[in-house]
């Protein structure tokens, strides 16, 4: 078997390769559904209905897509520069901590100032969580994959400490949760009789902004250049360390945003189960979108659909909802292969 680079890659091939791959992934996972003894068609129909079948289901899916979009963008920006930030989960909690610190009575401002303040605070906190990994990578060339991953555990334990100790809401009847965000800081709902909140719009705006920055600005060019070939970028006069720092702050900031939307938009207060792995799922979102910021919007909604749909499917038919994670993982791997095959031709001889 031999791989040959394709001389020209058509736009349609790149666009449809991931869609075809997701089809293959769904076929592969239907093997597991077969094992459960349920009908494959029935299972997928109930998944689809649960995700997009009604106004309520759609609102739930979009609500779930909000943090995924932001953590997906965080991963997409970082991976573009080959900065492997696997710490979006921790950065999300840093954003949530900042929102809780600022938004539970420290200051009371008009909502038009309060909400941006929470987002700025969350982004700063998220970005700051990456300062140590960036420093270690730039100065000592310590692999950022491991440091960002390990910091997730440290940050989560720190949140645990705050929620069981100094930050525990005295009104919470002993549950480890922080005080509620004051009314001025709560993100307004954007759809009647649903939980969909302003965070969704902020996610979409962020995606468009990230796309503009990556596509049309010098910063974006430098980020892409560092990702393609760091030594060539250095030769062209781009400071790799500075670019990586910038990428890290943007990436951590976006993940911090996700923490703010969950605390101030969805839950209203910080808990330990604020994120069921949104940071890790963001990596899948970014991979499915081939690291394209606008593609992240679609892939976040798709992934959220799988998660929300699988929850309702597991209630309707007897299939554990862990199938959603399997579907996502298989899709990620299938999309990876498909994108590779859109760049290379396989020759058997």
């Amino acid at each position: 078997m031999r791989l040959e680079p394709r001389e020209s890659v058509s736009f349609w091939l790149v666009l449809f390769a991931p869609i075809g791959a997701i089809g293959v992934a769904l076929v592969l996972t239907s093997g597991l559904i077969l094992w459960t003894g349920e009908s494959i068609i029935e299972a997928y129909v109930s998944l689809l209905k649960g995700a997009f079948g009604s106004r309520f289901a759609l609102a739930e899916t979009l609500t779930r897509a909000t943090p995924l979009m932001l953590t997906g963008l965080a991963a997409a920006v970082a991976f573009r520069a080959r900065f492997w930030n696997i710490g979006a989960e921790g950065q999300l909690y840093c954003g949530a901590l900042a929102a809780t610190y600022l938004g539970t009575g420290l200051v009371t401002l008009h909502p038009a100032i309060m909400v941006p303040l929470l987002f700025i605070g969350g982004a700063l906190a998220g970005g700051m969580a990456l300062l140590l990994p960036v420093y270690l990578k730039s100065k000592l060339s310590v692999d950022e994959v491991v440091t960002t991953l390990l910091l997730n555990f440290v940050i989560l334990l720190f949140v645990n400490y705050l929620l069981e100790g100094p930050w525990r809401d005295p009104m919470s009847m002993g549950w480890p949760q922080a005080a509620s965000i004051i009314d001025e800081g709560v993100l307004p709902r954007i759809m009647e009789k649903s939980r969909l909140h302003l965070g969704f719009i902020i996610g979409i705006i962020s995606a468009v902004l990230v796309w503009v920055v990556m596509r049309f600005t010098v910063w974006g060019y430098e980020i892409r250049a560092v990702g393609h070939n760091p030594s060539a970028a250095t030769f062209a006069g781009i400071s790799v360390n500075l670019t990586v720092l910038r990428v890290a702050l943007i990436s951590g900031g976006l993940a911090g945003f996700a923490g703010v939307t969950e605390v101030a938009g969805l839950k209203g207060y910080l808990t330990l189960d604020l994120s069921p792995g949104f940071g890790y799922a963001g990596i899948a979102v970014a991979m499915l979108a081939n690291l394209h910021p606008l593609g992240v919007i679609a892939s976040a909604i798709f992934l959220a659909g799988i998660y929300v749909g699988a929850d309702s499917m597991s209630r309707a038919v007897n299939i554990p909802n862990y199938i959603a994670d399997v579907m996502v993982a298989v899709s990620v791997l299938a999309v990876l292969v498909s994108l590779m095959l859109s760049q290379y031709r396989v020759r058997f001889r």
Partner: protein, 315 residues
């Protein structure tokens, strides 16, 4: 302070250190074999999870403990082969593929566990490996309890290290593996297939990782629960860097690390009053980062790590 010193004088502390070290030794050695051949395997966290689940499930379904271990190793090797299909044969990003493997392996473990045991509120248990007292030695006053009354799997974990050192440094196969990680062109020039060597190394390494996971469910505890691996795989990746890719140092690193972890648990008992327990639980992760910082300057990583090899293509 004297409380802290007293910890070292109890045999229980040393026994716990050895127990905690075993999954780390197996995971670190597994990761090290992959990386010495030039392939970073971030699938480790998931492979340890599925190793823990499949070995346990084999025994729960009525299988024997040792065949259960072999089953876990086999499943681990399968995921290793999958990872090498993506990274070695197709040349995909080792970071991304590894994370994909971790997602797949852990989600599959949870799905299969729930499928086979749908309604279990209290985790079902198996009869794990029993400690064996080595005749004569286990009667020694202090060392007997600390070193010579462990489960067979514990001794197995420690025995793996010299075997791996021997194979890696004293056999032609080991030379080919190390050369694939340093200079794949030279391997190819000898008429040895780099892709085959790397695939075999990743499969073997992943089998060790899976057995490391299985240690938790089949020797250290007797049940499988979600979140069992809890970052141990990532700690192993850090330990490989700490050991600068040397199996002997990996053993020392795992032991040192396990010792600090065992101490942390015991220190909670007398310092828990004024230091919240979460800070003790942070220690393993903080120490892993610190270990990488300390060793960063001296680390000599395999030259061809992360670089896919395509025959006839210049690197």
């Amino acid at each position: 302070m004297s409380d802290l010193l007293e910890i070292f004088l109890t045999a229980g502390f040393w026994a716990a250190t050895i127990r905690i070290a075993c999954p780390l030794i197996l995971g670190t050695i597994g990761e090290l074999i992959c990386e010495r051949a030039g392939v970073l395997n971030l699938g480790i966290e998931g492979i340890m999870t599925i190793g823990a689940m499949s070995g346990w499930m084999w025994v729960y379904q009525g299988g024997d403990l040792w065949t259960g271990l072999m089953f876990a190793a086999f499943i681990g090797a399968l995921f290793g082969i999958l990872h090498s299909m993506f990274t070695v044969h197709l040349g995909l990003s080792q970071h991304v593929s590894g994370i994909g493997i971790t997602m797949l392996a852990s989600s599959l473990s949870f799905f299969v566990f729930r499928m086979m045991l749908p309604s279990s509120t209290t985790p079902p248990k198996i009869v794990p490996f029993k400690p064996i007292n080595i005749p004569g030695l286990s009667d020694m006053p202090f060392l007997g309890e600390a070193i010579f009354s462990h489960t067979p799997m514990t001794y197995f974990s420690f025995a793996v290290v010299p075997v791996v050192i021997y194979v890696l440094y004293r056999t032609p196969v080991g030379l080919a593996v190390r050369m694939s990680g340093e200079n794949p062109m030279a391997v190819e020039a000898q008429g040895i297939n780099v892709l085959t060597i790397r695939t075999a190394a990743v499969a073997t390494g992943s089998a060790f990782m899976a057995v490391g996971g299985a240690y938790l469910t089949m020797s250290a505890f007797d049940a499988f629960y979600f979140g069992m691996i809890n970052g141990r795989g990532w700690i192993c990746v850090a330990l490989v860097i700490f050991a600068s890719w040397r199996p002997g140092k990996a053993l020392l690193g795992a032991l040192l690390f396990a010792g600090l972890d065992a101490m942390q648990v015991r220190a909670q008992q007398f310092a828990g009053g004024f230091i919240p327990y979460q800070f003790f639980l942070m220690l393993p992760y903080v120490l892993s980062i610190a270990a990488m910082i300390v060793m960063a300057r001296r680390a000599r990583y395999p030259k061809a790590l992360l670089i896919p090899f395509r025959r006839g293509e210049r690197i």
